[in-house]
């Protein structure tokens, strides 16, 4: 598929919050109205810039949670002591405006034309861009086999919990497994613990399937998981990572 190599000059645009949707106690989705939104690919992100009355500005990057083809939605996790996330999660309301720059990022993306099996490994809020891929797959009616391994602290910290349950049931070819690091639900097969080589081998794809792996989350999590995947024999060129810092 030919794609224009030359894109427009990227600049800041005004985004208005069209709707908000709570996800967990600490995370919320903001559906944005961006008048000149050019469309995006699953996995891309935007920069968000807030300006205060006195001119003070703060800027952060957020992954797009929504599938391509619709308005961009961001899912923001409140960071303790953070500057931008507490505003976006606790204060911002429909009608409020800020600036966005994007979508950007052509590396950490998945498109329905990619036919290899996909392994998505999420650490905490790293699930956001991966959810965009899950939603893109469903929207396109794709049959590409997807496995999502979602590492999170407790059942209460699972973002998109209801939707993931529904998709697990309804999206054929999508398998989802959870690794709870602090508290697991009573019926969960494993006690709480970090994602490790054994879990990845058990719940991921065999290396012979040559899956495309996407790992997203805090830097430490991504470093660990990416190394485990490569150590297990996955081709490093097929392990794509996005670090969220912290």
């Amino acid at each position: 598929m030919a794609r224009a190599a030359v894109l427009g000059r990227l600049s800041w645009q005004v985004a208005q919050i069209a709707a908000v949707r709570p996800e967990t106690d600490t995370a919320r989705t903001l559906v944005l109205d961006v008048p000149d939104w050019p469309g995006h690919r699953a996995g891309q992100h935007v920069d968000v810039r807030l300006t205060a009355e006195d001119g003070y500005t703060a800027q952060r990057s957020y992954s797009i949670a929504s599938a391509p083809g619709g308005p961009p939605a961001l899912t923001v996790q409140r960071v303790d002591g953070g500057e931008v996330s507490p505003y976006l999660v606790d204060i911002a309301a429909p009608g409020d405006r800020f600036e966005v720059r994007g979508p950007v990022g052509g590396y950490f993306t998945w498109q329905p034309g990619d036919h290899a099996p996909v392994l998505l490994v999420a650490g905490g809020s790293g699930v956001v861009p991966l959810m965009s891929m899950v939603r893109a797959r469903a929207a396109a009616g794709s049959r590409v086999p997807f496995r999502l391994l979602y590492s999170t602290r407790t059942p209460a910290t699972v973002i998109y919990a209801d939707e993931l349950r529904r998709r697990s049931r309804d999206d054929h070819g999508l398998d989802i497994a959870y690794a709870y690091t602090r508290v697991a639900p009573p019926e969960h097969p494993r006690p709480p613990g970090r994602l490790d080589a054994v879990l990845l081998a058990e719940w991921g794809w065999p290396t012979e399937f040559a899956p495309n792996c996407y790992v997203c989350g805090p830097t430490g999590f991504v470093e660990t998981v990416a190394n485990l995947l490569v150590d297990a024999g996955h081709d490093p060129a097929r392990v794509r990572t996005e670090r969220f810092g912290g």
């Binding site: 794609r3 894109l7 000059r9 950007v104 996005e242 670090r243």
Partner: protein, 87 residues
């Protein structure tokens, strides 16, 4: 304080270039290691952006942004290889 990766370079570089450079490959001028720009070690909490080689930590790229100018130092990269559609 840790590092991020070159995905964070996507927006600042797209302000200057009309192609997405994070999918380009580069070679470290210090140790010769090749990598995709999205995979570099990126230090973003600084007066500018500093991308370092994941092999030898040498500076690959630096970017400083003022209200009206951008300075870009690519001297840590021997080259960038950028895909383009066939004619």
């Amino acid at each position: 304080m840790t590092f991020l990766d070159g995905n964070e370079l996507a927006a600042p570089l797209r302000e200057i270039f009309t192609v997405d450079l994070t999918v380009a490959s580069g070679q470290c001028a210090n140790c010769g290691r090749r990598c995709t720009l999205a995979e570099v070690r990126l230090y973003a909490r600084a007066p500018g952006l500093v991308a370092r080689c994941t092999g030898c930590e040498a500076v690959l790229l630096r970017l400083v942004r003022s209200p009206d100018r951008v300075w870009l130092d690519l001297s840590g990269l021997s080259y960038l290889e950028i895909a383009r559609p066939p004619d």
